[in-house]
């Protein structure tokens, strides 16, 4: 009797994950984005593709770090083919830098929307398109309702969306699956060596639905993420966070 009860509970858990927009990874699909120990924070231990991820930055320095982190993820997402769209209102991204993170800049289509109100329209259209692998949207504001629309769009098309929110004064509730904050930290070289080392970030996973938030120090080295400090789980999973 007890065994069946556990079965029912685990079945219900799976169902609830599915209703919330997660899909169990297809057998054989390579969903490892090279995040290493960070992946343990996600439900099922896999980075949720086909979902919206929110990144918050308040300074241009943070935006640059976030851009690097996203580019590292996009590199792996583009391996299966598909287009990458970078949608922004005021873009400062320097395309040649993407190459250092393994993304061919000529594979990225940049859409510099002239009116801010069109940014989310273009993003939603792009997220609905199944030929697109990933969409990066640079915006300032994202209301709860707008985030819901984006999340609904990707649940059908299985496109991975990144929303990079610049100059956020107050983080409001959104329907995104995760919320990240990435800031640069001092790079390390071998002792005694002068200069600047590999890009190193403090990656903070503030919120993840059905997962375990945490923070890590990650370095981008030799075209992959290297976790410097082992995962530290802040608090147990809070459902419907």
């Amino acid at each position: 009797m007890k065994a069946t009860k556990e079965e029912i509970v685990s079945k219900l858990r799976e169902d609830m994950l599915r209703w919330e927009g997660f899909r169990p990874p297809k057998p054989g699909a390579n969903n490892d984005l090279g995040l290493g120990p960070v992946a343990a924070a996600f439900p099922d231990g896999v980075f949720p593709t086909g979902a919206i991820h929110e990144f918050i930055s308040s300074k241009p320095e943070d935006t640059a770090a976030t851009g690097g982190f996203i580019a590292g993820l996009v590199q792996k997402l583009l391996l299966n083919g598909g287009a990458c769209l970078w949608i922004s209102y005021t873009r400062r991204l320097y395309p040649p830098a993407l190459k250092l993170f393994g993304v061919d800049p000529d594979r990225v289509i940049f859409i510099d929307v002239p009116l801010q109100k069109d940014v989310l329209w273009v993003t939603e259209e792009a997220l609905k398109c199944e030929g697109v692998a990933t969409v990066i949207c640079e915006t300032k504001d994202l209301s709860f309702m707008e985030s819901q629309r984006l999340q609904l769009a990707v649940e059908k098309s299985q496109v991975t969306g990144f929303v990079l929110r610049k100059d956020v004064k107050k983080a409001n509730t959104t329907a995104c699956v995760t919320r990240w904050q990435i800031s640069p930290v001092r790079s390390q070289l071998r002792t005694g060596m002068p200069g600047v080392g590999y890009p190193r970030w403090h990656v903070e996973l503030i919120k993840v639905r059905n997962g375990k938030p945490g923070n890590w120090i990650i370095e981008w080295k030799k075209q992959s993420f290297q976790t410097i400090i082992a995962p530290r789980i802040i608090e147990p999973a809070r459902r419907y966070a």
């Binding site: 241009p60 640059a64 289509i109 273009v122 930290v185 001092r186 080392g197 890009p199």
Partner: protein, 500 residues
Amino acid sequence: MPKRFTSIWFRRLLTDQKAIRQPELKGKAYVFAEPDHGRMLITALTDEARKFGVTEGMTVADARIIAPDLQVFDGIPGRNLKLLTGLAEWCLRYTPYVQLDPPDGLLLDVTGCTHLKGGEKAYLQEIVSRMKAAGYHVRPAIADTIGAAWGVARFATSGLIVPEGTHRNALMPLPPSALRLPGDLLTKLRNLGLHQISSFIYMPDSVLRRRFGKNMVLRLKQALGQEAEYLFPLKEPVPFTEQLACLEPIKTRLAIEIALNDLLERLCKRLYGEGLGLRSALFTWYRIDGKNGNIKIGTNHASNRVPHLFKLFFIKLDTVAPGMGIELFVLDALKTEPVSDKQSEIWTSKGGADNEEVAELLDRVAGRIGSAYIQRYLPGEHYWPERSPKTDPDFKKAAESEWRTDKPRPMQILDQPEPIETMALTPDYAPKLFIWKGEQHIIVGADGPERIEREWWDDPGEHRDYYIVEDEAGSRYWLFRSGHYDAKNNQHWYLHGFFA
């Protein structure tokens, strides 16, 4: 197929138009007059005025004596051309080849068009009744040659449809003025007693040429079809075009959408059969009050998929102003290209930007925000940071050279380098600290300098020495000193970018 031409003669173009504008003038005697050598000469008049004995070319003063109630309006030179152009556009529904025939006519190449209205008789009937409903009195004629149609329309008393091959007989009883000849030549012919074409049609060419000039022979031969004559169409006909004429004027949005969808389906079916796709299309609507408007769309790659093209039009469909109602929709394929073979794309699963779905997405986005804002970068062979990525409108083009990875480049770059205050060891060390926007950054690590020279053939100016620096908080910046160290001028350090 033998050629058939229609000449439409607007008997009283200007006065009819006046009566349409001011219905109270209907049935009244009025004329248009234009100044000529200090007199007012009558240029157009109604049948009612003609009954009094008024004719074209009479002075207004003379006419007023014959007909005291005569109303005189100022004629506007060139007005007839403007009216004819509008009417010619309206006549495009009958045939794609319409030419203006000043001062008061239109010429239509109706070869292969008449059966659409149920034969030549019904075709002319329709033109007459539609024009009459609009308020114009017309006389159309159909013949094998332009010249014969012109003459018959204006001078024949009956038999406006000249059967194939009988235009010679039809011309026989007509006066010489049916041959489009200048006035002095007509006077000469009249003085010689040649009142009908039949009286000189059998004269040898050499005789006619010697007496009346070669223009006369040319016109005669053109009317008989022995000399070629061509129409210069008002609009270059588009090879792929579809029309939808509506029984009832259309006003609602839903009906317009249905009409558009219907036209697209018909056009795309034809294009599909030819293996072509649309690159650019024009959707035109004609309103019952004579106004028209259009929407133009363009695509990134040739497409003949109806739902996609419909979406592109749909974005702009708000600009349709139906007014009193729309009676005719026309869809022209302005530019077509062979569609790429879809079969091959199935195997490459998710392609890049040349993927069908992505290209359609980009079309939609371009329709909303404009195609100039969608960009793709290729490596430009320049060291200067502002120029090293170059934009390219062709989404299928592959990079000609590799992206450079040997020099680190910042993730974020400022459009305009921002001046900063620094403290640096002279002459060419990296700064120890810098102040940007009032905030002080103490530098703990630095790489550089990387000197980038300007392209002197493009722009003169100082070179830049770039440093990658890291401050205490861990933020990484791209700074440069413009030119060499100069003790007098301290303000030459700039912040240009942020590293990840």
